[in-house]
């Protein structure tokens, strides 16, 4: 029997076309031994939720630079729940005003990462969040 790998989706919702940050995080998670599904630019919430479902991921990370996080994130979380994936850990990266962070946490996001975040912090926290899910 093989060990259970942590599976994560890194998605880029919204219309902005910069995925450098998303790719850096995806690579860091891969280098930490995770299986990272990268879905590309301009993903709709429906596309992200479908990918999360089909790939049976432990965590969903979204990189949002467009300022649309307060519209996109709850939509994705609602779809995940509607699909029966209540236990999937959701995190957000990108340019998120400090004032919006508590609101995102309230929606169920476990972490919000700004542009300067050390990728090792992301790795450690995703590992912890995914481990909590796998332990269930």
């Amino acid at each position: 029997m093989a060990e259970r790998k942590i599976r994560v989706i890194i998605a880029k919702p919204g219309l902005d076309g910069h995925d450098r940050g998303a790719k850096v995080v995806a690579q860091a998670l891969r280098d930490a031994g995770m299986e990272v599904i990268y879905t590309g630019l301009r993903q709709t919430p429906e596309m992200i939720a479908q990918a999360a479902l089909q790939e049976d991921v432990d965590a969903v990370g979204m990189s949002i630079l467009s300022g649309a996080h307060l519209a996109l994130v709850p939509r994705v979380i609602d779809l995940l729940r509607a699909n029966g994936q209540k236990d999937v850990a959701v995190f957000v990266g990108g340019i998120i005003p400090e004032a919006d962070v508590p609101e995102l946490h309230k929606m169920g996001v476990f972490a919000v990462y700004g542009p300067g975040t050390n990728t090792q912090t992301v790795v450690a926290e995703v590992q912890k969040a995914a481990a909590a899910r796998l332990a269930e």
Binding site: K5, A32, G33, M34, E35, I37, A51, L53
Partner: protein
């Protein structure tokens, strides 16, 4: 996991149940094995289409275009399994094939699953065949399997798929020597993708002349399949209908010639063989008294016994 309930849900078309079942099967857990056993009678229906070729030739783009074509023109459910390499250093993997499969992203009749090769070298993961089996049992009638674009020995895909597409692209070196040895043995259909780029004719000509040598004297023989060479521009959906037609012709050929049944039988026989070996080794390990292995090994290391004799000694323990 309630396995019988999950099996029922998968048969009913529950996508969450399938996704979770696939994880169990991919990890080769006892639950995954039981799930496959419960659903075994439902399988064996799907047309399994392998898609292989060097990195970046357009495999994912073609899978996207083909699957979308099947969805538009036939009422079939389409499964996709896309395998990417695992990093040998970290054990992690970046699975990026979905980037080129946008058209399938929200289609309820399509299920795309990415897999990491997890150290397997033949272009597929060890459990890809089992993952495909579960999708088959879930009612996906066409299953497209994209291999790692390793350009090495892609024999695994031939063993798994009914129809194998080998994707080439122009400019990779247009002479016969540059075209990888062995692709003619594995290809049921050769596709020169990126036909919008210079050099298509050269690649096509090289493939054709290799085929002529290989299949000389068999032209017109209905019991002999000669792989067609087709052009496509996957990113613009061009050449997809002709490709789908060729795939269908190959399926008909397999069925009419009895080759479909032969491949099915060979695959199941191979699977049985592997399982018998695994189970025998497992039973033997369980029957082995503590220290017996260590003692035999020590006798071997001090050359009191030969490897062959040592193996005989250890095998005695299977007779319970």
């Amino acid at each position: 996991m309630d396995i019988p309930a999950t099996a029922l849900a998968i048969r009913r078309g529950d996508r969450l149940a399938l996704a979770r079942g696939l994880t169990q099967v991919e990890n080769d857990t006892p639950a995954g094995r039981e799930l496959l056993s419960l659903l075994f009678a439902e399988g064996g229906q799907a047309h399994l289409i392998g898609v292989t070729g060097a990195p970046g030739t357009g495999k994912s783009s073609l899978v996207n275009a083909l699957a979308a074509f099947y969805r538009r023109t036939r009422q079939v459910k389409v499964g996709v399994v896309a395998v990417d390499p695992t990093s040998p250093f970290t054990g992690g993997a970046l699975l990026g094939d979905r980037v080129r499969m946008r058209d399938l992203a929200t289609d309820p009749g399509v299920f795309v699953r990415s897999m990491a090769a997890r150290g397997a070298l033949g272009g597929l993961a060890h459990t890809t065949a089992a993952v495909v089996q579960l999708m088959d049992a879930a009612g996906y009638e066409v299953i497209l399997i994209e291999t790692v674009g390793a350009g090495q020995s892609e024999v695994d895909i031939v063993r798994l798929a009914h129809t194998t597409l080998v994707i080439e692209a122009p400019g990779l070196g247009d002479d016969i020597q540059a075209i990888k040895a062995g692709i003619l043995e594995i290809a049921d259909i050769l596709v020169v993708n990126k036909a919008d780029q210079p050099g298509v004719e050269n690649t096509e000509r090289a493939l054709m002349s290799m085929l002529e040598m290989e299949h000389h004297g068999f032209e017109g023989d209905p019991t002999h399949w000669i792989p067609p060479v087709l052009r496509s521009i996957a990113s613009r959906n061009e050449g997809i209908e002709a490709l789908a037609e060729a795939i269908q012709r190959h399926q008909i050929f397999l069925k009419n010639s009895g080759e479909w049944q032969r491949r099915e039988a060979a695959r199941l026989k191979g699977e049985l063989h592997v399982l018998v070996q695994e189970l025998l080794v497992q039973a033997w390990q369980e029957a082995l008294p503590e220290n017996a292995y260590q003692q035999t090994l020590e006798a071997l290391l001090s050359r009191q016994t030969s490897p062959h004799q040592a193996a005989q000694d250890l095998l005695r323990y299977t007779h319970r």
